[in-house]
């Protein structure tokens, strides 16, 4: 989960697939996978955050603290462990 996987997207560009925890503050990306089991997926789903959605990372606290993301008009804070389980494909140029 922690290593960086490289996928090829439709256009043939190498798209970086990393976890929300690894994203830089301010980066945008599309959620491609939620690895956390039913519980985490369901909690995120309730907030409208699910696979296929564009998210922006707003901030991360020091010492593996919680991560803040924005999706549409929703903002949520989730623990570092949970954030490591949300995998995103970074937007091009991000």
């Amino acid at each position: 989960m922690s290593e960086t996987k490289v996928d090829m997207n439709k256009e043939g560009f190498a798209a970086k697939r990393i976890s929300l925890a690894q994203m830089q503050t301010g980066q945008r990306g599309k959620i491609v996978e939620i690895n956390g089991g039913y519980g985490l997926a369901r909690k995120l789903d309730a907030l409208g955050i699910r696979v296929g959605k564009e998210i922006t990372k707003i901030s991360a606290q020091w010492m593996r603290g919680p991560v803040l993301l924005r999706q549409g008009n929703t903002q949520a804070a989730l623990g570092f462990g949970m954030a490591s389980k949300v995998l995103v494909e970074l937007d091009e140029g991000a």
Binding site: T25, G39, R42, K43, D45, A46, L47, G48, R50, I58, S59, A60, Q61, W62, M63, R64, G65, P66, L68, G72, N73, T74, Q75, A76, A77, L78, G79, F80, G81, M82
Partner: protein, 570 residues
Amino acid sequence: MKKILLMGNPNVGKSVVFNRFTGANVIASNYSGTTVEFTKGSMRIEAERAELIDVPGTYTLEPTCKAEEIAVEMLKTGDVIINVVESTNLERSLNLTLQLLKRKVPVVVALNFWDETKHRGISIDYKKLEEILGIPCVPICAVTGEGVNRLVERIKDAKPSAYEYEEKERWHEIGNIVEEVQKVTHRHHTFLERLGDASVKPITGLPIAVIVLFLAFKVIRFIGEGLIGYVGKPIFENLWAPLMLKLSGLLGSEGSLHNLIIGQLINGEIDFGQSFGLLTTGLFVPLAAVLPYVFAFYLVLSFLEDFGYIPRVAVMVDTLMHRLGLHGFAIVPMMLGLGCNVPGALSTRILETRREKFIAATIMAIAVPCAALQAMVVGLVGKEGLAGLGIVYGTLFMVWVLLGVLLNRVLKGESPEIFIEIPPYRIPYLRGLSKKIWIRIKWFLKEAVPFVLLGVLLVNILYTLKIIQFVGNITAPVVTRVLGLPKEAIGALIIGFLRKDVAVGMLVPLGLTAKQLIIASVVLAMYFPCVATFMTLAKELGHVDLLKSAGIMIVSSLIVGGVLNLILPG
């Protein structure tokens, strides 16, 4: 009677709508989980009376936590559902709406925060939404009351919807609906949004937190002191004291009835701090000494709550709180506890596990002093200089951290990770804010004044019957040797079970040294919660956990008091 349920995601303003409809007073704040219990009220629809129920917020009808379970359970009992949705978050809100429609219950949709859609560049065709869903959809702004009457008129049009969809296609359906009714135009981030982001980034968020804390402290102190010095004291000393002196004369200036009502005269005068009569100290303590600080504290807390700062504090302190076996959101019971430990204890319900509730409730009850206690301590210890106050607060903070770390080590289990929605910053609406402060003040007056009077009555009885002297003699070894206090101080510890502010007041006539005042204040804060908090803890924790918690309180307060007695000079 018709039963109407208010349902919707957390923090969409259900409680504000509830207050509007019923004229009732329910606390509403800008963060999830302010309502942990359902609240009932009655409202009028045309000529009929109906029962309105404020249901805790839920994202889904497949419950993920206790509050959501309650919500789903409630659903079965309702005749009509008012589904409050956040217009600025239509897609997500419709998830619950569609689940409600599937249950074939009559639903009205209230599109709240309608005013916010404009400056967020969102336009929603609510008539089209009404057409698609086949139920009334009414745009409202609950805090200002816009559209609320229209909503009441439309309740009678609520009916089970004919709208059908495949369960596994729900999000897809929602996507289509949103596509059809909502247009979003690009716009720049507002100042509040940028401030919101800045207050959760460590580099900017930490300085902001320090500034907020500093300002909060300054404002509370300024308003509290100001109200005491310019309102409370002058009224009591210039208006009330002469009246009481007359009454004292009428009662013969002595005797047990006189002492009960007026108390002891000090050099022929009434001393509101020391006389200890029902109508002197008994009224002065809650109304002139404590109420100003309670008001100032709730003013600041309510503002921060309605602004939306609290969840951001939760994010900032999450890492620290994990060391105590909690996560960041557990800062909520601590902050509420600084006002009064009772709502603090109640709000531990927002925590997920029994272990978290136990740790949070225990360290809150021990190391978080309520506003009433603080007001008295600031008045008494503050006279000896700020250093003394620093020691009291510093000690309590250290106890809070150490005890949390210790409990986290000893108790089996782990602390769950934080997962909270961060609401947008909102400028508090004056009417809502003042209503909330008024609810809290009223609650304080109703709870505190009778207990303070009872406390003063009890002090008089215990002294007259020489019970305090008797217990003082028995407990002298602990009180004098371990804590270094005069044995008369046991009176304060006894009364502290009832009211902590009265207990601190009892220290005044003892002429304690600065060191003794510090120790007494810390021990009074820690050793046991007042009876109101105790009863709440019993309900929230159950008797077994309460006993454990109480044991920890007594032992830790003796240790801390003893250590202070050993290390403090003087």
